[in-house]
């Protein structure tokens, strides 16, 4: 009746084997690096030193600043993306269903590498040659410093949202369309109006995908790197250092490989914890 344990093994063997081969060695080496004093010069002979890299990371205020930045950035961006995409997916469904190619129009921004998007915004937002400041000067007579310290966060988050809402839209739209029609029919038969249908039938049915979408978008926005790096670097005084930028800088610019890896291991553990909590949370949801 059930999948046999032999089958379980063979069906999960390829991915497990692949991960072991591709990441086993790198992970092992990284774990060694994280407890070593290692620079580019002694990559092959790191000097073991215990957990100093971890202590140093935990004591580094800029690490916590970077973590806070990434959390704030990830949460803001992913929540806005989620609500915007959910609205568009449901509201535009009749239109998109009739003209599927419209979806491709909405998806276009995802196809450009974030680094190149960042590059283009360097031009678009430039006070003298950018199209947005140009029209602001024309119409309002002034234009804000989009990338100045006080506005940078808002600008960067907006750029992230505009590029990646289509991603959430694609998933949510697919999910919305796959709601079995008999569910809707049954609800209508019971006299549900559109709002009730949405709140009591459609959204609950989509909830797992909504959570998944939120999770994916949060993770992606949390580890933001390219567009920020291209636009403002790590920001004046380091004010827009995301965790990825922190780790990249520690790794290459600081040449402090052990600490960069330790910072990543800490992140990995934190993320594991988060996933475990989410898992428990979603199981409780399933049982209620």
């Amino acid at each position: 009746m059930q999948v046999s344990s032999k089958e379980k093994f063979w069906l999960t063997a390829p991915i497990t084997f692949f991960l072991l081969v591709m990441l086993g060695f790198p992970l092992l080496l990284d774990l060694i690096y994280s407890v070593s004093e290692v620079t580019f010069e002694n990559l092959l002979a790191p000097r073991l030193q215990g957990f100093e890299n971890y202590f140093e990371t935990l004591q580094d205020p800029t690490y916590w600043d970077a973590l806070a930045f990434s959390l704030k950035f990830g949460l803001t961006a992913s929540l806005v993306q989620l609500f915007l995409a959910l609205f568009l997916a449901i509201y535009l469904e009749p239109l998109l269903a009739r003209h599927p190619w419209l979806m491709a129009v909405l998806m276009a921004p995802m196809m450009v590498a974030p680094a190149l998007i960042g590059l283009m915004y360097r031009l678009i937002l430039h006070e003298f040659v950018g199209v947005i400041p140009y029209y602001l000067w024309e119409w309002v007579g002034d234009s804000p410093a989009f990338l100045g310290t006080e506005n940078a966060f808002l600008t960067l988050v907006t750029i992230e949202i505009l590029q990646w809402t289509p991603f959430a839209l694609l998933i949510l739209y697919t999910a919305y369309r796959s709601i079995p029609s008999h569910l809707r029919e049954a609800a209508r038969m019971d006299g549900a109006n559109s709002l009730q249908l949405l709140m009591l039938v459609e959204l609950p049915y989509m909830m797992p995908v909504i959570l998944l979408t939120f999770f994916i978008r949060f993770i992606d926005s949390f580890r933001v790197f390219d567009n920020i790096y291209v636009l403002v670097g790590s920001g004046a005084g380091g004010t827009s250092t995301s965790l990825s930028i922190y780790i990249y800088k520690a790794f290459f610019r600081g040449g402090n490989i052990g600490q960069a890896v330790a910072a990543s291991v800490l992140l990995f553990l934190a993320a594991l914890l988060l996933i475990a909590l989410l898992e428990r949370f979603s199981r409780r949801m399933e049982t209620t």
């Binding site: 003298f128 100045g148 310290t149 004046a236 005084g237 800088k249 610019r253």
Partner: protein, 439 residues
């Protein structure tokens, strides 16, 4: 159709498992994109048609510019043999020295480049590269505007009032070639709309204040001309000094007064050029490389033909410009060292460098050589002159951690300029960080 797809499949297969072909060639990793690439291609073409025939020919590869140094670092640290000769730079020569082999260039190289320029490729007394391109900074200004400022009585009067109000003394306009930093500041303020509503330009100057190590290099001239230095003779960090404070405060004063565009804290090379090129800024402290494009009427119609360039303004300790060089050196793991050395030796000769310069590169060479090609490259004379008279490299500027030090300063100093850190905090953190890096 079927044939087509079989063909595609084959191409796919071959490209998947393509083994790099093993030519007995010297592979050179160059700096991509700009005139450095064009110049290197030109030089290599000449070499391959001549000495390369017997010495072993040279072929070129390039990496992406973004992340170039990081990629190079990874390659060298892993002992790559993908290239025999690679790019190096003054601020990175100490960092890559462990993976590179010192050169003993022919004595003629001394006559071509001179000691000061060769030094930009030296670390702990060894020569690690042939200095192919030199970069330094100019004070760019608008001829037309400065001419009017120097002659118009009404403007002179306002200039005096503005300098009194912002700098505490009444100054008279001066020729940019005789500026000190106060003259520069007064001029920048004068040409700023928010300070002087009669200003024909929106901003008086363009400062590059993005958190980026290269921006620190431009700024360094302000500190150095006040006598600033990274390390004293004993190797102790002396960055928390009056001179460095003067330089940092100058930027801060101008930025806070609105003399540089609002978004200056996100400006680097390209943004600054766009601002100056739009005709809405009267002066700019910028790399020498920008002149060609700014002065080209096709690219920058608003300012081409109206640009003057001089060395950066003087401070109490004289007039200086930060210099750094790009160069080519030998990968320690190269399997083709003999042929590579032959190419590098050839490249360091007068004839090769002449070709390189005519191809668009910017080598700093002895006057006798630059004079010969002054018809095609008049700018190289200025480059050589400025490097010789004003060029400086900070004490520690070629050390293994130079790149990290610039990065650290960029983080701290931009914090001060943008107002998230006090001057004391920024300097203390810089001193401490530098001491750690140089330990």
């Amino acid at each position: 159709m079927k044939k087509m797809s079989t063909k595609l499949g084959l191409v796919l297969l071959v490209s998947l498992f393509a083994v790099k072909s093993l030519w007995a060639q010297v592979t050179v990793l160059g700096w991509p994109g700009g005139p450095e690439e064009t110049a290197l291609r030109k030089a290599v073409e000449v070499y391959n048609a001549g000495p390369g025939k017997s010495n072993g020919s040279v072929n070129l590869i390039f990496f992406n510019r973004d992340g170039f140094w990081d990629k190079l670092q990874a390659d060298l640290a892993a002992g790559t043999t993908e290239f025999d000769i690679n790019l190096t730079a003054t601020y990175a020569v100490g960092r890559y020295a462990p993976y590179m082999q010192p050169l003993s260039l022919p004595s003629a190289a001394m006559d071509v480049f001179g000691d000061k320029v060769l030094k930009t490729m030296q670390f702990e007394g060894e020569q690690y590269g042939v200095p192919t391109d030199l970069s330094l900074h100019f004070m760019y200004y608008r001829n037309d505007l400065i001419d009017k400022l120097l002659s118009d009585a009404g403007w002179k009067k306002i200039y005096g009032e503005i300098s009194q109000k912002y700098l505490g003394k009444t100054l008279a306009p001066k020729n940019p070639d005789t500026w000190n930093w106060e003259d520069y500041a007064a001029t920048a303020l004068f040409f700023t709309k928010s300070v002087n509503s009669a200003s024909p330009t929106r901003y008086g100057t363009v400062l590059q204040m993005k958190n980026l190590l290269f921006n620190m290099m431009i700024w360094h001239s302000t500190a150095r001309s006040h006598g600033g230095e990274w390390l004293d003779a004993n190797g102790n960090v002396m960055v928390d000094s009056w001179a460095v404070r003067q330089g940092l405060q100058l930027y801060k004063t101008l930025y806070d007064a609105g003399a540089s565009p609002k978004d200056s804290t996100s400006y680097e090379y390209a943004e600054a050029n766009a601002a100056f090129g739009s005709g809405q800024a009267a002066t700019m402290l910028q790399w020498n490389a920008a002149f060609g494009s700014l002065n080209n009427p096709e690219e920058n119609p608003a300012v081409a033909g109206k640009i003057g360039t001089v060395a950066p303004p003087a401070g109490p300790a004289g007039r200086v410009t930060h210099i750094h060089g790009l160069g080519l050196g030998l990968n320690k793991n190269s399997k083709n060292k003999d042929a590579s050395i032959k190419f590098l030796n050839w490249l360091s000769g007068a004839a090769a460098m002449e070709t390189y310069a005519l191809g668009g590169g910017s080598p700093a060479m002895a006057k006798s050589i630059t004079d010969k090609i002054s018809g095609d490259r008049p700018d190289l004379i200025k480059l050589g002159d400025f490097a010789g008279s004003y060029g400086f490299v900070m004490n520690g500027g070629t050390s293994a951690s130079a790149l990290q030090i610039y990065t650290l300063q960029a983080e701290q100093f931009t914090g001060y300029w943008s107002g998230t850190k006090s001057l004391d905090e920024a300097l203390q953190a810089t001193s401490k960080g530098m001491a750690d890096l140089l330990k």
